[in-house]
């Protein structure tokens, strides 16, 4: 923490934490999961439950099977023996209660919009990449690029995550119960990241927008990441989100550090006038 400069973005008159813009309004609506609709979405019944044994299946077969089961109205699908295979559960554009009994490899639950996913094990790199909406809960640890480029939804890891979590993130929330590696929130553009443990070097490097909350120590801040004042509104939001995340950890909310963009990088001189107005 020693390396954090104590200037506040609010003192700089740059960051007032007013949520503006279409994505913020949509993604921070508590009823966000009700706001999406795909014309070819399946009508599923969450009480209709079935299982897939992934032991001898390739990822393409598993994903095809999930789609077929949703088409039959199954709203709760349990995947057994995932065996850390890659790309399981990608492209689900539907409401679904998906339960993974085990661990996933790379790119699990990528490009989804709507499902609630529970993973009892660990996930590899790039879990939930490009998620639009929904909720993903990982009970153990996660690899690097956790929640890369997500646009919305809640992505929760109860354990620790690797490097570059929330890279290129454009909305939604990432909550990590443990520690996070280097370059967390790298080039983050919107949304919020909550790390309850310690974070590695270059936190929030090249951060455009969005907010990062850290409960533990910060090894170093990246370019354009600055500390901001933690408001009562922030604490209320954190309490609500962490409760929803089901992370069972005693938290001293007043000790949480809030990191935002200093908005000093060259790209802010090149924004569209309306974006610039919103940013400043």
């Amino acid at each position: 923490m020693a390396s954090i400069k104590k200037h506040k973005s609010t003192e700089m008159g740059l960051h007032d934490e007013v949520l503006t813009g279409r994505t913020q309004q949509v993604f921070f609506n508590p009823e966000e999961t009700e706001n999406f609709f795909y014309h070819d979405a399946h009508k599923v019944d969450f009480n209709k439950r079935t299982e897939i044994d992934a032991n001898n299946l390739e990822c393409i077969d598993i994903n095809r099977k999930i789609n077929e089961l949703m088409a039959k109205g199954y709203g709760t699908i349990v995947i057994k023996n995932p065996g850390s295979k890659h790309s399981i559960g990608v492209g689900i554009l539907n409401k679904l209660n998906l339960i993974i009994e085990g661990s996933l490899g790379y790119f699990g639950i990528g490009s989804v919009d709507g499902p609630v996913v529970r993973i009892s094990g660990r996930v590899g790199w790039s879990c939930a990449e490009n998620m639009m909406a929904g909720k993903v809960v990982v009970e153990k640890n996660a690899g690097s690029c956790f929640g890369a480029a997500i646009r919305g939804g809640d992505l929760i890891c109860k354990g620790s995550v690797g490097a570059r979590s929330g890279i290129d993130m454009k909305g939604g929330t990432i909550i990590v119960g443990g520690d996070a590696g280097a370059f967390t929130g790298f080039m983050m553009q919107r949304g919020r990241i909550v790390i309850l443990g310690d974070v590695g070097p270059n936190l929030g490097d090249s951060l455009y927008d969005g907010t990062i909350f850290v409960g533990g120590s910060i090894k170093s801040l990246g370019a354009d990441a600055v500390e901001a004042e933690l408001t009562d509104l922030d604490i209320a939001w954190l309490k609500r989100k962490i409760k929803v995340s089901e992370i069972d950890k005693k938290i001293d909310y007043k000790k949480i550090t809030k990191i935002v963009s200093g908005k000093k990088l060259w790209n802010y001189d090149n924004l569209e006038p309306t974006e610039r107005k919103g940013a400043i």
């Binding site: 065996g83 850390s84 295979k85 890659h86 085990g102 661990s103 490899g105 790379y106 009892s120 094990g121 660990r122 590899g124 790199w125 153990k140 640890n141 690899g143 690097s144 354990g159 620790s160 690797g162 490097a163 570059r164 520690d179 590696g181 280097a182 370059f183 590695g200 070097p201």
Partner: protein
């Protein structure tokens, strides 16, 4: 992108050849060009095990220059002569492929002198020289290489391996991993990543008398560590130094007679998944490789940026 894997059993010898084969075969998609194993076995009565090649595998897909196999025998005879004149005694001689050999020798002299003598024979390269290390690498996936060299029942305490996607150098045995930390017995390295200050470091090390056999940037790690060890620096300390001295993005594994270590660069740009229990440590570029030997639910994690870890067999 390449795949790397390693496993070490604490205080136990087991079928490490079969385990490494399964792990590496599951990483085939990360590198189909060649596969290499550095296996640490139970040794041959405290004698040195010499693995060397006198030519290249020139099958389809290889970038090596085609040679008439008749030259191999000539080179082997020269190698035998060099071994004899160096004062070493040859106890066992096995031809594994037309170009690849496994010898058991006894020798009391300087390993560097012996290695230089053997490698003075045209196209001859020592793959490994040690009392427990056996380094095997060839073109093809893990099963092809394991079958070719009969590795599926290899007993030992630990091993590291590599599946290679050739990017900056050719598809041949010379450029395949692992690399032996010439001239130190029983030290081997596998690497996933790219080193951007390869030539600067190589020139500096060559000036110190260190030898490079390929233009593969991964060989630099082995030679770098060998140079540090030569100067009396502890393996773990040398690995920590490498994080600052080597530029680029990399994760590498290094093994010695009784240790296995890993190092990850400051950017943590290359993957590594780690499982550790009281009995063993297994590491791989992807968890799916660890699951081939530990199919039950296990707790794994990604080591962080700048981490160096070393485990004892």
């Amino acid at each position: 992108m390449c795949g790397i894997a390693g496993i070490i059993h604490k205080g136990k010898s087991t079928n490490v050849g079969g385990e490494m084969q399964k792990m590496l075969q599951s990483l085939k998609h990360r590198g189909p060009d060649s596969t290499g194993y550095a296996l640490y076995g139970n040794g041959e009565s405290n004698n040195y095990i010499l693995r060397f090649k006198v030519g290249e595998n020139v099958k389809e897909g290889s970038s090596a220059v085609m040679e008439d196999e008749s030259v191999y025998q000539e080179r082997v005879e020269q190698v035998n002569s060099k071994i004899s004149t160096s004062g070493a005694t040859l106890h066992k001689e096995e031809q594994i492929t037309p170009y690849s050999y496994r010898y058991v020798i006894s020798y009391d002299g300087d390993l560097l002198d012996l290695a230089k003598q053997i490698e003075s024979v045209e196209m001859t390269e020592i793959l490994s020289l040690g009392k427990s290390l056996e380094l095997i690498k060839d073109i093809g996936d893990a099963s092809v290489v394991a079958n070719q060299y009969d590795l599926s029942d290899f007993a030992g305490t630990h091993g590291i391996g590599h599946t290679r996607m050739a990017t900056e150098s050719g598809v041949d045995i010379r450029s395949a991993h692992p690399y032996w930390a010439y001239p130190f017995s029983d030290v081997s390295v596998v690497h996933n990543g790219q080193l951007t200050n390869y030539w600067n470091n190589r020139r500096a090390l060559e000036k110190k008398g260190m030898r490079f056999m390929s233009t593969c940037d991964s060989e630099l790690i082995a030679v770098y560590l060998a140079d540090k060890i030569r100067n009396g620096i502890d393996l773990e300390e040398a690995m920590r130094g490498s994080l600052d001295d080597l530029d680029g993005v990399f994760t590498y594994l290094v093994a010695t007679k009784d240790k296995l270590g890993m190092a990850k660069d400051h950017m943590a740009a290359k993957p590594m998944v780690l499982y550790e229990s009281d009995d063993l440590v297994a590491l791989a570029s992807e968890e799916v490789a660890i699951r081939t030997v530990l199919p039950e639910e296990i707790d794994t994690y990604d080591p962080y940026e700048g981490e160096v870890k070393v485990w004892q067999a």
